[in-house]
Subunit: 312 residues, 2 copies
Amino acid sequence: MIESLANKILNSEKTAVARGISLVENESTNAGELLKMLYKNTGKAYLIGITGPPGAGKSTITNALTKILRQNGKKVGIIAVDPTSPFTGGALLGDRIRMQDSGTDDDVFIRSMATRGSLGGLSKKAKEACDILDASGKDFIIIETVGVGQSELDIAQTADTTIVVLVPESGDAVQTMKAGLMEIGDIFVINKSDREGSEALGVALRTMLHLKMTKQSDREIPVIKTIATGNKGINELYDFIIRHKEYLEKKGKLEQKRKANLIKQINVLVNNKLEHKFWTAEKKVKLDDKIQKISEREISPYDFVDELFLET
Amino acid sequence: MIESLANKILNSEKTAVARGISLVENESTNAGELLKMLYKNTGKAYLIGITGPPGAGKSTITNALTKILRQNGKKVGIIAVDPTSPFTGGALLGDRIRMQDSGTDDDVFIRSMATRGSLGGLSKKAKEACDILDASGKDFIIIETVGVGQSELDIAQTADTTIVVLVPESGDAVQTMKAGLMEIGDIFVINKSDREGSEALGVALRTMLHLKMTKQSDREIPVIKTIATGNKGINELYDFIIRHKEYLEKKGKLEQKRKANLIKQINVLVNNKLEHKFWTAEKKVKLDDKIQKISEREISPYDFVDELFLET
């Protein structure tokens, strides 16, 4: 059954790809087997991460970029990571709204993934969803993440090219730096650049990036102005993505970057498995028994954990 | 040596508290022993989390709130979580700038912690730093987190009362919801409320919070307007914190919340220990050996991890 699903994914069948991603998202026991089967067919797609503060226009840029990629004959997969809301029980601005533009195109696959529960879980699932899209023959995969925190940054960093989208209103350059975005961008976009403050943000960004460049890199990090709703600057953005891709490939940096990401992925797999094996029914009962005493400061959580390990 | 440090911390000696937090931050082998010794003296401090998008004025609110707490005779600890920057090699807007107002006050302790490396690591360290401040006799501990991502939300949620600070410019209410902030706030603050758009944000927030309340809670979540630089609304904010504290204590919800957090903390401790034990020198060598083959798609990372576990 999983083999037949794998074959359908390799054949680029949309419903099979959707089912595969659902298996991954629901942490189905079959997901591992599926990913093993598909793995040798991955590594061909180029991954673009798009991140930035809420309201910067990331979805609009993703859509505009998808159009250009399609015009260039490229097949596109999109993973949009949205935090879970108790109101909808799932992803906000879900697939339906997003599909309007390209939903009828067979060579575009769009999927929203919601953040549910555990730290780190989402970046694992997002990566695995990318592997499925990759195996299905997509040439480019765009991972769009809402928010600017550590998990989101981790997701953005699994990409080959990471684009940070800012708007004049999203705070000044120092705020951007504080949010950890300066470190991860391969390309910076000032969207809604017809608004006040865009010049000043551009100057400040370039100054800080120049500082960074002289310290760390042999490549100038571009700052591009766009008005995504009017499709302005998107061609330029596309050109810079392709240039960055060529830069990484020529210098052997793409392989290096992907190897580092593989090591991270292996660590996450190991941790998940360790955790799963450790928490036997017996240990869970023990935790239930002792939590009251820990809460009352009779035992410290550190001593309790030591105790759990003594039995392993 | 650690015992003497623990005693000095219990005596509220500032330099000892600073050293204790450094042990935690550097993951010193002594940190565990110290935390074990201090644990029975924790649980007395009340934890306030302050979070929100960059530029919302969280630091200003923290400072203003600290003043009121001091006027009420309360001892205050502050943990400010800042992302690491390669420019400074440490926390931005570090301790020195922040100390200006209350640096000479012996009953205020301020510490910036930087986000270094591993996912989840920071919330563990922030929690442990809070335990040290708690044991040192602080009545209130404020944890201030920059950013709006999953790790930051996790940190904010370890607090007893979580305050979400927004500004009219930080995007509309839907953006706030997308960033995952609607779910975690016990109190919402619209700072810089003299600016345009503050009314509209307030109305939208109240509408959404009302929806949430009818579904999930027996308590109305307040939305407070402040102008922190002018000290406006801060007294009201303080009153609402105290009211929320009383609400939690009266209904037994504080104990319940803290127990849930303890369980999370235990999980993190277990995971750290498992990871540390698993990666023997031998396994690390194996990873080095195989990464090339995994990178060339000869072996999948999933099969490789299975192989690692066979030997355990």
